[in-house]
Symmetry: C2
Subunit: 281 residues, 2 copies
């Protein structure tokens, strides 16, 4: 799916939920752990259970890499099981110089045909450009993340150099990142990661990039509030894709896990439906 | 190999060269491209040809990921072919929140038992801590990279907040990153990436972290000068591991590629031997 179709898809499904498949063998329901291909079975069961309540799936590549080569086969099989109606994201947070970045882009846009991939901005424009050359795909750049560590560097105040007057503006690093990266591609090619725990900052970020979609992790297990996210991050295209991972997929470790995961996803969806009905009045 | 043994290894080998295995099927010698397992064959041939001239190998994970699951098997077989006497680096530039970073650490320290992995700092302390929990392993954090894009964010001037006096110091982001990250682990656990094209800045970085080893990419294909790197980056433990990838492994695409790669590595080694003999007088 392309990003330009996401808004309509959200309206049709009454949901802007992305389900994160951070799947780890040891956290699966006990009865599944012993079975062959347990992780893939689990992912398929979660997708079956939640697909009516979400518009997107996000595969956290770290959990698949930690299984070695077979993890990549499981990731591939999971990707192919995600319905074509759903926006598929590789949460890989890659970032390297140009010729290496081109390999990463090829990996997540061609070898594994995801709709989108997450990318880290530290190394600058030539580390992001190779992803943007795939103009039917979506590059999701880290802006302000939901973790404590975002204070260490993302929230530092940076000073703009240049200008003969000696005048300078002050911004936080994540604001500078978002402002600058937004110029490198279209609103249909670029999204930003903005943590759900950072609602006050989200309002400010929305003023910098009024038209971009945000990928918002950090609701559920990380504690972000869905109504606040909607109040601060909303835009005319809705502009929000909210991810929940552990609070859905690990909601229950018994044989009833599918029903409980469906219920957890449905709970998010219901809140989102209320938000959508208010905002789209 | 642990980092504390690297200095002695460099002295023994008269070399501080790391050979980067950024191996890509289409760039291999034509006669190899058609053969089964060409990439692994090539890597083994390059390791055989260069191991006397270098102390380390760096596997650029992007090139293996782009081959899909079988790429990870090739990476694993290559890793196991690297002599135990050589310092093995996964150039993966990972970075994510804590529970995800723990998966990445497990991938590159346990599932694939590299000596070291490169990590991106953008997301802060909790994205780096899980790597440092492996105290026999080495975490190599991006400082100042050799690419043009390093100007976009790494070189921004950041302002320290805090202090009642209103006084503040100004540093560049990469300086702040290096200064802060250096407090999170020991000099035997942490290294920094400092690009070879950034020799003036390298001198300044050396004053911030006088005791750390630097991984220095960007000589050869990217144009950095080895003598300048030694002048500005040297420390009492030598403190430099200089990587060359394309200028060695793709020095020749004929059937003589092994001899030419050996010669290219030997050329670096000879310059390094001269530098070592001067500096260790």
């Amino acid at each position: 799916m392309q990003l330009k179709n996401l808004t309509q898809h959200i309206i049709n499904k009454n949901s802007f939920l992305c389900v994160g498949l951070d799947t780890e063998l040891k956290r699966l329901p006990k009865h599944l752990q012993q079975q062959p291909n347990a992780v893939l079975q689990f992912n398929k069961a979660i997708i079956d259970a939640t697909k009516d309540y979400c518009v997107s799936y996000k595969i956290n590549t770290a959990f698949y890499e930690a299984m070695g080569a077979k993890g990549w086969d499981i990731m591939e099989a999971t990707l192919h099981y995600i319905p074509a109606t759903h926006f598929s994201i590789a949460d890989a947070k890659r970032g390297d110089i140009g010729n290496t970045a081109a390999q990463y882009a090829r990996t997540f846009f061609e070898v594994y045909p995801f709709d989108a991939v997450t990318v880290a901005p530290y190394m600058g424009e030539d580390s992001i450009r190779p992803f943007l050359e795939y103009n039917q795909k979506v590059t999701i750049v880290l802006g302000l993340t939901s973790n404590k560590g975002s204070e260490d560097f993302e929230q530092l105040i940076v000073q703009e150099t240049g200008g003969n007057s000696g005048a300078y503006s002050q911004k936080k690093l994540y604001e500078k990142v978002i402002e600058k990266v937004a110029n490198w591609g279209t609103t249909e090619q670029l999204m930003f990661v903005v943590g759900a725990t950072k609602t006050v900052e989200m309002k400010q970020i929305r003023s910098i990039v009024p038209e971009h979609f945000f990928l918002v992790p950090g609701v559920g297990a990380q504690g972000g509030n869905l109504n606040e996210v909607a109040d601060f991050g909303w835009n005319k295209n809705i502009g929000l894709l909210v991810n929940a991972s552990r609070s859905i997929i690990y909601a229950d470790d018994t044989e009833n896990f599918q029903i409980t995961a469906a219920a957890a996803a449905a709970t998010y969806q219901l809140i989102m439906q209320q938000i959508l009905s208010q905002k789209l009045l």
